[in-house]
Amino acid sequence: MLIRSVLTHPCMAFVAVVVACLCSRTFYPLNNFPMYADPGPEPSKFVMVSDAQDAPVDIQSLTGETSAKVGKKYVSERNKLATAAGIEKADEATPEICAEAWQKVAQSLVPLAERRRKSLPDSLKLKIGEIYQEDGAFREEYREIGIAALTKKEAAPQP
């Protein structure tokens, strides 16, 4: 009787949302909201998209995608390729896999720029920046992932 009374209480909707979100992890709109959940000394990462000459590109105004989104897409693609290659830890993906992942993501930016009638450079380079917090100071390091040659359907007008 007590169990039935508890289970038919309307606040079970709250319990259901919590359990479903924690269990599903990511099944839109269910999510366990993992952002900023594990602070620690590990470096915080960001991405820089540049042209072949290392000049940073205004990726958001050209494609509508923020650099953070480009970074997430790259990580997702790299993880997918690493899994397909049988690599257990995606962080240990080979440079070739990383470059291939970037080639795919960079190419996927082309139609986004075209829809905005903007033109991307012929090549896009991806660098991952790492920020370390040590002894009361920040330290930054950059690592090049790859350079992608872009295939464009047609010449889009210049921004």
Partner: protein, 297 residues
């Protein structure tokens, strides 16, 4: 009549009208701009079950999509005077529009959390409608637990909101193995990371170059940083008080809205849809104004 704790509050028709208008306004605001995407490279949610969502982003589709969402919203508000299948259809329409639009956006190899609360509120309202419909068809009379459709719609919406915040806090506890508060001074580099990301969005503008003043301050004051983040964590963890009663919903809701303002100032992370949903269903300004008016009369 005073409502017992953790039970749905009685919702009158005027208040229900404003709640429905508020939800429809948020859904329309959320899907107002055409989707940037017309394919699903990495399907999530319903898209992973082969439910088509890419059509929402096809060229020329958005005006029709928006018109359909507006129609569903209008019917949802008007069905307050004619409850039944019209409420179900319109609520279903709003849910399909919002969940579909954001499933498409989240199927692009990256996750965006800013709209999930609205989608969850819509799904929760659909479930609430289903329960109330079954009770009506079975001839079960209203009782304090299930007093009426709009009372339960409000209550389930609050449950979804509270659930999202509590999940955020629990994930922090689980992922950091209980060290979130102790290690929260490390958010200095997270703040700086966001600063760098914003700079590299449009580097030619020169905005966000150098070091974030907040990151710099946090770097110099680790203990104060921990104290700065602690209230936010507890606001999330104890968000279940949102369903305690109206006063707690309003008070905690205001605190959560302020929390988001604080996060947007320090970390440049904005969650306007969360704030609007909390404003409508927790702070619930029309209810308090109606109550003041009633007292004055």
């Amino acid at each position: 009549m005073r409502t017992a704790s953790y039970l749905p509050s009685l919702v009158g028709r005027t208040e229900a009208f404003f709640l429905r208008v508020g939800l429809v306004a948020i859904v329309l605001w959320s899907v107002w701009t055409p989707s940037k995407y017309d394919s699903v490279p990495e399907p999530v949610g319903l898209a992973s079950w082969h439910v088509p969502v890419a059509w929402i982003g096809r060229e020329g589709m958005h005006p029709w999509f928006l018109a359909g969402t507006m129609l569903a919203g209008l019917v949802y508000v008007l069905s307050l005077w004619r409850p039944g299948w019209l409420t179900l259809l319109s609520l279903l329409g709003l849910t399909v529009a919002h969940v579909g639009y954001w499933t498409l956006a989240n199927s692009q190899r990256n996750t965006f959390h800013g709209s999930q609360m609205t989608s969850l509120v819509l799904v929760a309202q659909l479930v609430a409608f289903g329960i109330m419909e079954v009770r009506t068809r079975r001839g079960i009379p209203p009782d304090p637990r299930w007093p009426g459709l709009d009372s339960v719609l409000l209550y389930f919406s609050q449950c979804a909101i509270a659930g999202v915040y509590v999940v955020c806090a629990l994930t922090k506890v689980f992922k950091s193995k209980g060290r979130w508060l102790v290690d929260s001074h490390y958010f200095a580099k997270s703040v700086q990371k966001v600063w760098r990301q914003l700079y590299f969005d449009n580097p030619s503008s020169g905005d966000y170059a150098g070091i974030s003043p907040w990151a710099s301050w946090m770097l110099e004051h680790p203990m104060l940083s921990r104290l700065l983040f602690a209230p936010g964590f507890f606001l999330e963890l104890f968000a279940f008080v949102l369903i305690w009663n109206r006063a707690w919903a309003a008070g905690w809701g205001i605190a959560l809205i302020l929390l988001h303002f604080g996060i947007s100032v320090i970390m440049q992370l904005e969650f306007p849809e969360f704030q609007m949903i909390v404003l409508v269903f927790c702070v619930n300004v029309p209810y308090w104004l109606l109550r003041l008016r009633k007292r004055a009369v």
